[in-house]
C-alpha cells in the first residue's frame, strides 16, 4: 500500500526547540514527557547537534515483518500501527528498527511509534522552521532534499574540523 503523504525530516532546519516532541506526547497521552513522544530530538548543544528521529513508515517495514504475533499493521495512510491488543511486548520491533524510531514506553513495557496522528501530524504543525513536513509526493522536491542532505553532512564534517 502506498501512502498519500510522507513525514519528511530536514535536520539542518531543526532548532532543537522540542515543540514537536512535546506536542506529540500531549496529543497521544495528554502529558508533557518525552518518554511518551513518538518523535525524539537528539539534541546536544555542545556538539552542535539537533536531529529529529521519527519513523519513516518503511514500505517493507522491519518492525512489522519481525513481529511474530502480527501486531503491526498498515493503515490507509501507510502508517505502521501497533495493535496493543495483540502486542505481547517482546520489543523485537524496537530492536530491528533501522532508525531507532520505535521507542519503549517504560510504563507499559510496550513499543510506541509514530502513527502519523491519523493523517494530521501535530509535530509538523508545531514545527515553525519546516524541519518536519508532511508532504505529498508532488510536494517533495528532490533537489531540495539533495541540498538538505548535503548541507547537513557538510555541517557534520565541519564540526569535526
Amino acid at each position: 500500500m502506498t501512502s498519500e503523504r510522507y513525514l519528511m525530516v530536514f535536520p539542518e532546519l531543526c532548532t532543537g526547540c522540542r515543540e514537536c516532541e512535546i506536542a506529540c506526547s500531549l496529543k497521544h497521552d495528554g502529558v508533557v514527557g518525552y518518554q511518551k513522544s513518538r518523535i525524539r530530538i537528539i539534541r546536544d548543544v555542545f556538539e552542535g547537534m539537533e536531529i529529529p528521529v521519527v519513523c519513516m513508515q518503511c514500505i517493507d517495514a522491519p518492525c512489522m515483518n519481525s513481529c511474530r504475533v502480527e501486531a503491526i499493521y498498515v493503515d490507509e495512510r501507510g502508517a505502521k500501527i501497533i495493535d496493543y491488543e495483540r502486542c505481547i511486548g517482546c520489543r523485537r520491533c524496537i530492536v530491528v528498527c533501522p532508525l531507532g524510531a520505535n521507542f519503549l514506553n517504560p510504563e507499559t513495557g510496550k513499543p510506541i511509534k509514530c502513527d502519523l496522528c491519523g493523517g494530521d501530524p501535530v509535530c509538523a504543525e508545531f514545527c515553525s522552521t519546516g524541519a518536519i513536513r508532511y508532504l505529498s509526493p508532488e510536494e517533495i522536491n528532490s533537489e531540495e532534499l539533495r541540498l538538505a542532505s548535503r548541507n547537513y553532512i557538510k555541517a557534520l564534517i565541519e564540526r569535526e574540523m
Partner: protein, 633 residues
C-alpha cells in the same frame, strides 16, 4: 498534574533536604517562577543578611507554563539577595533547565547554608541529593556541564553551573545552562560560589499531566503562531537581537566609550546585524520556542579561528563593541564565548570594563593599578586582559569584581558619576537619555539598572493613541520623548514582565518590541487548559502587581527608597552629542523626571517616597514577612 511539582528545600550546611507540596492557593496568588520565588525569599531572607553569608537563600523556580510547546516556555528563574545592591537579585534564564527540573519532579528549590566542600545538587526522579563537586571546581561552565551529563548517565540531564567568576565571588558572576543560556544579571553565580555550590543538575521523566490536552494543543498552536508571525519575531528569528543594534546606532541610543557618546556613528557600521550572518551556522532555540532568536556561530579563519558559540546578543555588541570602541564582530564573538565559559554576566562585565577605561582616561585608575596595562579605547587586548583580571581578581580587577559601589569607594567617590548604574547594578549599553520611559524603567527596576523588568520597547514606534489606549487601558502619549503618562506605561510593563517571568515564557513573545504579540488576556486559556486554574486578565494583572510589590517591599526592608530610583546623574547633566536630530542634544529634565516618577508611584499605590502604602499592601494581601519558610529545617 501540572500542579503537583514539589518544592525542595536544601540546607547545604546541615546536609539536609526536605520536599514539600506547593499549595494551589500560592499558585493563585503568585503563579510560579519569579512570583513564587519572591514569595519564598520575602519570607526567608532577613534584612540584616549579607548576600554572601550562609543565611542568604537562593531560589530556583520553573514557571507555571515552563515545558509547554509555545511562547518560548523553557524558562527558569533564579533569585537571591543581590551582592551588588543588597536588594533584589533576580535573573530569568532561557534554555532547557526549567523544563527538565519539572520532569525531575520539582518546580522550586530553596537553597540555604554553605557546603563545607565544593558540592553540587542532583535533582532526580522526585529526589534530591547533595554530591561532591571537588572534581568540577575550576572547570569552565561548558566542561562542567559535559562532565555532569556523563556522570548522571542521562543525555537529557540539564545543569545550571557556575564558572571561574562564580567561584571567585565576582559580584556579577552568573549561572549558565548550555552554551549561552545565562541567569545573567544580579550576581546569582557569586551567591552560588559563596555557598560552595558548583551546579544543580536536573534529570528524570515524571510526566506532567495536563488538564485539557486537546484544547491546550489547539490554543498553544494558535497563540504560538501569532507570536512567531509578528514582523518583529520573524526578523528576530533571522538576525537575532543584533537587529536592535542597527536602529540604536543609526539613530543614537547606544552607549559608546562609556556613554561619553550615544553612538559610534559610521565607525560602528561593521557591527551591523547582517555582518554576523557569515559566521552563523544555523539558528537554534530554547525549549518550547518557535522564534529561534539565536545564532550558532563559528569563526572559520583568522586569529580567533575555531571559536564556536551561540549568540552574540545586542547587549554583547555594546559590551565588547561600542562601549570600549572596538568595532569587530570577531572580537565580540570571542568575548561572548569567553564570558559564557567564565560564567560572568557579559552586560555587567562590559559596562564595568567601559567604566574602568573612562576612569583610566581621567586618571582615576593608572598603570600602577593595572599591572602596567594601558586601558586605551579600542585596544582589544586591553579589554580582554582587564576582563581576565576581573574574573581572576588580579590587580584592579580585584576591586572591580566587588561591583561599582564598593569599587568607587576605592577610586574616589566622584568616580561613581561615570558609572552607568542604579542601585549599584550596571546598566546595559543602551543610552536612555532621549527616551524617558526607558530611563524610568532602568531606574525603578527592583534588581537595579536593567532593561528586562519594564522596558516598553514599543514606545519607540509612536503608535496611534487609540492603539496605545487599547493595549494599556489608559491614555498614553504617543511621543517617545514625552514624560507624561510614561509612568503608567512602565508600570504596565512591570506587571506584564512579572507575569511572563512567573509563567516561564519568553519576553520576546509578549508585548515588548511588538504591539501585536500576546499579552495578559492571551495567557488566560493557556493557564486554564494546562493547569486547570481559571483566571481573568484582571486577576493576572493583580498577580503582577502583587509580585512586583513584594519585590519592592524586599528592597524597602533593605533600605531602598525614592533616592534609589534615579538613572545615572550623567543623564541629567550631559547632553547626547551625536545621532539623528531627535536623539541629539538630549538629556533628562529632573523636574519632569520627578513628575513621571510620582505618577509611577501613584499608579502602583506607593507613597511619595516609593514605599507601598498600607492600603495597597492590604488590597494585595501582602503581610509582614514572617521568616517562617525555612523553619522546617
Amino acid at each position: 498534574m501540572v500542579l503537583n511539582r514539589k518544592l525542595g528545600i536544601i540546607d547545604l550546611g546541615k546536609n539536609r533536604v526536605l520536599v514539600r507540596e506547593i499549595p494551589v492557593e500560592l499558585r493563585k496568588k503568585h503563579l510560579g517562577g519569579r512570583g513564587l520565588n519572591w514569595y519564598y525569599l520575602y519570607n526567608s531572607i532577613r534584612p540584616d543578611v549579607d548576600p554572601y553569608s550562609p543565611e542568604n537563600v537562593l531560589a530556583i523556580g520553573a514557571g507555571l507554563l515552563t515545558g509547554f510547546p509555545a511562547l518560548g516556555a523553557g524558562r527558569t528563574q533564579i533569585s537571591t539577595k543581590n551582592p551588588m545592591t543588597g536588594g533584589v537579585g533576580d535573573s530569568n534564564m532561557g534554555g532547557a533547565f526549567g523544563p527538565q527540573l519539572r520532569l525531575a519532579g520539582f518546580d522550586h528549590l530553596l537553597i540555604v547554608g554553605r557546603a563545607e566542600k565544593p558540592s553540587y545538587i542532583l535533582v532526580r526522579d522526585g529526589g534530591i541529593e547533595i554530591r561532591s563537586a571537588e572534581h568540577l571546581w575550576g572547570l569552565d561552565t561548558h566542561t562542567a556541564q559535559k562532565v555532569l551529563r556523563e556522570e548522571t548517565g542521562d543525555d537529557r540531564a540539564e545543569s545550571m553551573v557556575i564558572g571561574r567568576a562564580g567561584e571567585n565571588l565576582v559580584s556579577f558572576a552568573n549561572v549558565m545552562n548550555g552554551i549561552k543560556n545565562a541567569g545573567g544579571r544580579s550576581g546569582t553565580g557569586a551567591v552560588m560560589g559563596s555557598k560552595n555550590l558548583k551546579a544543580i543538575v536536573a534529570s528524570g521523566d515524571i510526566d506532567l499531566v495536563v488538564h485539557d490536552p486537546e484544547k491546550l494543543l489547539d490554543y498553544a498552536l494558535e497563540v504560538d503562531r501569532r507570536a512567531r508571525n509578528t514582523k518583529w519575531a520573524k526578523t528576530l528569528g533571522r538576525l537575532g537581537t543584533p537587529l536592535l543594534y542597527d536602529v540604536s546606532y543609526t539613530t543614537g541610543f547606544i552607549g559608546t566609550l562609556n556613554w561619553q557618546y550615544n553612538t559610534p556613528g559610521e565607525d560602528g557600521k561593521p557591527l551591523e546585524a547582517e555582518n554576523l550572518e557569515k559566521y552563523s551556522v544555523k539558528m537554534v532555540a530554547c525549549i518550547g520556542c518557535s522564534v529561534h532568536c539565536r545564532h550558532r556561530v563559528k569563526i572559520r579563519e583568522g586569529r580567533y579561528r575555531g571559536v564556536v558559540t551561540e549568540g552574540p546578543e545586542y547587549a554583547a555588541i555594546g559590551a565588547f563593541g561600542t562601549g570600549v570602541g572596538v568595532y569587530d564582530w570577531e572580537f565580540v564573538i570571542k568575548c561572548n564565548e569567553m564570558a559564557n565559559k567564565w560564567g560572568i554576566d557579559l552586560i555587567s562585565l562590559g559596562t564595568t570594563v567601559a567604566w574602568a577605561f573612562e576612569l583610566f582616561q581621567r586618571g582615576y585608575i593608572t598603570e600602577n593599578d593595572t599591572g602596567g596595562l594601558r586601558l586605551e579605547w579600542g585596544d582589544e587586548n586591553a579589554v580582554l586582559e582587564l576582563a581576565k583580571m576581573i574574573v581572576e581578581r588580579k590587580n584592579v580587577g580585584n576591586v572591580l569584581a566587588d561591583g561599582m559601589l564598593k569599587a568607587s569607594e576605592k577610586f574616589g567617590k566622584d568616580s561613581l558619576y561615570y558609572a552607568n548604574q542604579t542601585k549599584g547594578h550596571p546598566n546595559l549599553l543602551t543610552d536612555e537619555r532621549g527616551i524617558p520611559s526607558f530611563a524610568l524603567g532602568i531606574a525603578t527596576s527592583t534588581r537595579g539598572a536593567d532593561h528586562l523588568r519594564s522596558r516598553p520597547g514599543i514606545d519607540l514606534f509612536q503608535l496611534p493613541e487609540e492603539t496605545l489606549e487599547r493595549i494599556y487601558g489608559h491614555r498614553i502619549v504617543s511621543d517617545f520623548t514625552a514624560y507624561e503618562t510614561k509612568g503608567i506605561m512602565v508600570w504596565w510593563h512591570e506587571l506584564l514582565y512579572n507575569v511572563v517571568d512567573s509563567l516561564g515564557i519568553c519576553k520576546f513573545q509578549t508585548v515588548f518590541n511588538s504591539a501585536n504579540s500576546p499579552r495578559f488576556e492571551d495567557y488566560v486559556p493557556l493557564i486554564e487548559f494546562a493547569a486547570g486554574i481559571r483566571m481573568t486578565k484582571e486577576d493576572l494583572m493583580e498577580i503582577g502587581e502583587r509580585n512586583y510589590t513584594i519585590e519592592r517591599m524586599f528592597n524597602v526592608l533593605n533600605g531602598f527608597s525614592r533616592k534609589d530610583d534615579y538613572p545615572p546623574e550623567r543623564y541629567f547633566r550631559e547632553e547626547t552629542k551625536r545621532g539623528l536630530p531627535f536623539m541629539k542634544g538630549r538629556k533628562l529634565d529632573r523636574e519632569k523626571y520627578d513628575m513621571m516618577l510620582e505618577e509611577y508611584y501613584r499608579q502602583h499605590g506607593w507613597d511619595e517616597n516609593g514605599v507601598p502604602k498600607r492600603e495597597t499592601l492590604e488590597r494585595l494581601g501582602i503581610s509582614e514577612p514572617d521568616y517562617s519558610i525555612l523553619e522546617v529545617l
